[in-house]
């Protein structure tokens, strides 16, 4: 019986040592994993944007926030109640269809000729068979699935231009120097700009924004409630999103 007891003791000791050894091995492993993951988030890998205008931007952010809650949101909500979802989605598609020149020119400037070709085919099919773009029959064809987004800001980015300075624009919200300049390019490439008289053109653009907002109600609220600092959260999300568009296409 005594021998048995000793054997059990020895087994127990060996067992506990092997556990300890495993723990030590694992803990060094754990540190390795941590530093491997950590490197993903180091400053070199997370492109920063300079924000020297932060005090001004924060004020603008607050003004936009109030504008949203006290003006744009109630208007968009009323609009949502009047116009059914399907119809609003159709309008959104039609606007995308009309803004073809923005995509087309920028695909060419980025030397994305396949995308240019796809976008052109989509325009023809959706205009002819989709009631001027209200419907999107082109997406039914597998090879004509929506190509990645293109706008002038992204083209400038493709050409190697950085964001420059982060800015919060009145009403339009987060942007950067580069994308702000891009917006000017998009403005001139947008056919709606050339609608006469000028107030009609602005009216249509306002309608487009309203329609867009009606399809995205609640998103800003979600971001705001989940954030510790909504200003930083929006800034970071904007830059990350734009950078991912840049690296995806």
């Amino acid at each position: 019986m005594r021998i048995k007891k000793e054997v059990i003791w020895i087994i127990l000791i060996i067992f506990s040592y092997s556990n300890l050894a495993l723990a030590i091995k694992n803990s060094s492993n754990y540190d390795d994993i941590m530093s491997e993951i950590e490197s993903e988030y180091s400053d070199e890998n997370t492109k920063k944007v300079s924000d020297p205008l932060e005090p001004v931007n924060r004020v603008m952010f607050k003004i936009n926030d109030k504008l949203y809650f006290y003006f744009f949101k109630p208007v968009a909500k009323t609009y949502t109640e009047i116009v059914p979802l399907n119809f609003r989605q159709g309008i959104s598609r039609a606007f995308t269809n009309i803004k073809y020149p923005i995509r087309a020119v920028n695909y060419i400037l980025e030397f994305k000729f396949v995308n240019f070709f796809k976008a052109t085919c989509r325009l023809i099919i959706n205009t002819a068979l989709g009631f001027g773009g209200l419907l999107d029959p082109a997406s039914g064809i597998k090879s004509l699935k929506k190509p990645p987004k293109a706008d002038t800001g992204l083209t400038l980015g493709k050409w190697g231009l950085g964001h420059g300075v982060y800015v919060v624009l009145p009403v339009f919200g987060p942007s950067s120097l580069r994308d702000g300049v891009g917006t000017i390019g998009d403005y001139f490439l947008n056919p709606i700009t050339y609608v006469e008289p000028a107030y009609a053109s602005y009216g249509i653009k306002g309608g487009e924004k309203l329609n867009y907002l009606s399809l995205h109600l609640g998103e800003y609220e979600d971001l705001k409630s989940a954030a510790m600092d909504p200003y930083i959260a929006v800034r970071n999300a904007y830059i990350q999103h734009r950078d991912s568009l840049l690296s995806n296409n």
Partner: protein, 233 residues
């Protein structure tokens, strides 16, 4: 509604106790199936708050099984993580999980019926990239109405299981986003103040001030608790 669907599948794609999966995409696939099953069990005709709370807790427990929340909370703080005491680290982790839970899970539970009706085929695993023997990414796409939203999961292999440590929605990393916010806060405030602010933001929380992690209190074994044993989870 789109965002509710997305919330749901950001977090609940993903739970159950499936382990030993060889590939992260397999793990994910099993979780999708599990998720749908669990949501089917939701039965709350009287809309009682108690039932909701119970279900939410169930969801959090299950999510803990697939999300490496400890790594997430560590990455969110970056180098400031080391400035926190052990107790503060645990407290922060607990509060961070609650922050996610209160902002995502609550909303999900008010739309369970829509989630039940959501067709499984609208979630597609598109691609899987293995970065190294212990890091991988699984790309998915969630279709809602006529919009596709790319949701990518970053996985880390922890001894036995693949676990998620980051989620990218439309190219925006959850961790990077929070990290930038906490970084800014920690430049101006002490860690204790940041934790207090986080606590104040939450409606009410079960995380104790002096967080007890339930591990061995023996000093010599402490590191095993925080590393070695954690690893064996």
């Amino acid at each position: 509604m789109q965002r509710i669907i997305i919330f749901t599948f950001i977090f609940f794609f993903l739970f159950s106790s499936v382990s030993f999966a060889k590939e992260p995409s397999d793990t994910l696939k099993k979780y999708i199936d599990k998720t749908f099953e669990v949501f089917k069990t939701y039965d709350n005709p009287t809309n009682s708050t108690e039932y909701k709370l119970e279900f939410e807790n169930k969801l959090i427990d299950l999510a803990k099984d697939i999300f490496a929340f400890d790594i997430m909370s560590r990455m969110v703080l970056g180098r400031h993580y080391r400035e926190l005491s052990k107790a503060q680290q645990k407290e922060f982790e607990c509060l961070f999980i609650e922050l996610l839970a209160q902002n995502y899970f609550d909303k999900i539970l008010s739309h369970v019926d829509d989630i039940k009706k959501f067709p499984k085929d609208n979630i597609k695993i598109i691609d899987q990239t293995i970065f190294s023997s212990r890091k991988a990414e699984v790309k998915t796409e969630i279709k809602y109405q006529d919009k596709y939203t790319p949701v990518n999961y970053r996985f880390v292999f922890l001894g036995k299981k693949w676990k998620i440590y980051d989620v990218y929605v439309e190219g925006v990393s959850l961790i990077k986003n929070y990290r930038s916010q906490f970084k800014d806060m920690l430049l101006k405030k002490s860690p204790k103040k940041v934790i207090d602010e986080l606590r104040a933001k939450l409606k009410d929380t079960k995380c104790n001030k002096k967080f007890n992690n339930g591990c061995f209190k023996l000093r010599s074994l402490y590191f095993m608790c925080n590393r070695g044993l954690w690893y064996a989870n």
